[in-house]
Amino acid sequence: MTSPSASNGVTDAIWKLFASIQLTIALLLSLAATSVVGTLIPQNADPAAYISAYGETLFRFFWVLGLFDMYHSWWFQVLMVMLAANVIVCSADRIYAQRRILLVRRPRFQAERFRKLPEREAFEDDRPPSELQGLYAPVFAKRLSAVQVEPTDAGFLMFAESGRWTRFGVYAVHFSVVLLLVGGLIGSLFGFDGFVNIREGDTVQQITLRGSGERLHLPFAIRCNDFSVSFYETGAPKEFRSSLTLLENDREVLQKDIIVNDPLRYQGISIFQSSYGSVPSEEAVLSFTSQATGMIYRREARIGGDIVLPENLGVFVLRELRHNAMFRGRSVGDAFIGTLTPPEGEPEEIILPVRFPTFDRMRRGAVVIAVDEFKERFYTGLQVNRDPGVWVVYAGFILMLLGCYVTFFTSHRQVCVEAVRRGAKTRVSVTGAANKNKPALMRRMKQLSQALKESTSP
């Protein structure tokens, strides 16, 4: 393999190395082997978690090798860049070496080469070659390109070909690999990837970037009008829906409901539904049932606020909302925690599980307290990102699939028909060559010779 740019020894050697398929195999298998490591070691976790899992020494060792963010480590990137260089150099080298096959307008046929080919179909015809030539020309023209005719002593030779362009299929595949890497690079240089949690009713303009944890100011603000989650009867989630409004300088510019798989896109920035949660509600409506009179008193309570109960039952203070509260070692789910201070006696801690309104009866106190109304306030978890490289990547995807199809299932074929007059008959033989997929070539040759046999003057 030589190339026009390889002028001296060292560049020549480097060029040769990067033009070799051995390097390709080595690189592909190395990428496969090293990628395994990153799936065994959880990526981008907390350093403290790593130290407790692997110990101090191993942690340092892994850290130096970049194994905790392996796919962005320098050595993994070097492997990828080498693969890209390998593809580019190898393709350039081969296109240069094959330029006389790939880039000619009018291919030259050599009759001798075709006469030696084993792949052939033959038949006899009563009509003379001169007549057949006129009949065959349109059959050829219909199916093939670059048709050429050459007279011989006792007849004629007719050549044609198809699918020369398919030889470029493999270079399309290789170029697509370069597009994928370039698209990825554009994304990581000029894009961002962040997330933000917005409570219902709130408006935010800053998001947190993944990885670095830095804050980013968006060119617009996002308001979450409403979040809802619905469930199937089985209890599995059915839909997560956020109603969002985008604002520029306090002016509403866009309003859309987003669900998983249906994001919002504005000014090149995409907003995706990615998670949700509920924020501890500050308020609840509590009911106080006096055991002495049977009267029920309903009161709105806020965390931290105190309620003076009628009938001299004491003072109640709502302290906090506890997720997964425990009672005697059992979980009772979300529960409010409060303190009841009777007129005489010690303050008492009260647990009010949201799901069990009769829970407090167990205490057998003078007043039974229950959570009557409790409105959860959701926040929506949004993924916010911008990736200007995605179109380059998508172009690479399409090119790769088309290129693979062309490379694997199409071929460059050449056929040669020779007609020779022998006595009262004309002997016609059809031979062909293809750069791959010989069975398909044989089928095409059969079809062609059938069409030639049946060709009659109009």
Binding site: L29, A32, S274, V390, F408
Partner: protein, 278 residues
Amino acid sequence: MTSSLILSSVTFIYGFAGVLYIFAWVFRKPAVGRLGTGAALIGLIGNAAGFILRWVESYQLGFGRAPLSNLYESLIFYALCITLVYLAVERRTANRVIGAFSMPLAFLAMAYASLSPNISDRIQPLIPALKSNWLIAHVVTCFLGYAAFAVAFGVSLMYIFKRQAEPSRGGQMPPVETLDELTHQLVVFGFLFLSAGIITGAVWANSAWGRYWGWDPKETWSLITWFIYAALLHARLTRGWRGRRIAYLSVLGFAAVLFTYFGVNLLPGLHSYQSTGP
């Protein structure tokens, strides 16, 4: 569910087909091999019928969706693809020994789906993350690719076996050159579909989560598989890498397929079929 019933009987039909193919090969009874083909065909029809019926049943339950959304359903579809690819190969090569190395794989996929206590055959509605038109494109392309790799694995085993066995056993197999060529063609087919599977997955991830690639373990393992088969295709283009080494690479590639499919659920990530979040 009627579909589950049909599908469990398909398990036994596939197992029976595999036994017939192996019997025909070991005891050199071509007639038994033809019976094997019959059984495989009946199994295929039952498999397809069960698949379609399950689709219909999901509509009757009120949340119609393609039956491609959990481990049970994907295994059913995988067995369908393997049998389909194998029967196509049998038609082209007119050799039934390949069946002895392929149909047991279809049987194992079905058996794992029907018999494993950890796999539920209940028809569940789709969780939000799976509600996408890309789901069908992604699963169909991936599993056609995996199926071609499975049959390629069987053919590669035959290659390795034939190279080592005494001629009498290997004699009914196609010549090693044909096995080598067949492995290549199946890998080519699988590679095209695996590429399409990874690409549709990436496009889907981009429309659901806003990133086409996130190095999550399932994604990474599919890429590892892709690297191995890409290496195989290139290895075949250089001299000295025909035959046995290609067969070993094909076995390695199929091991990676299996890990992508099953092993990854042991690792943390978004893709495992049990996950419920978006």
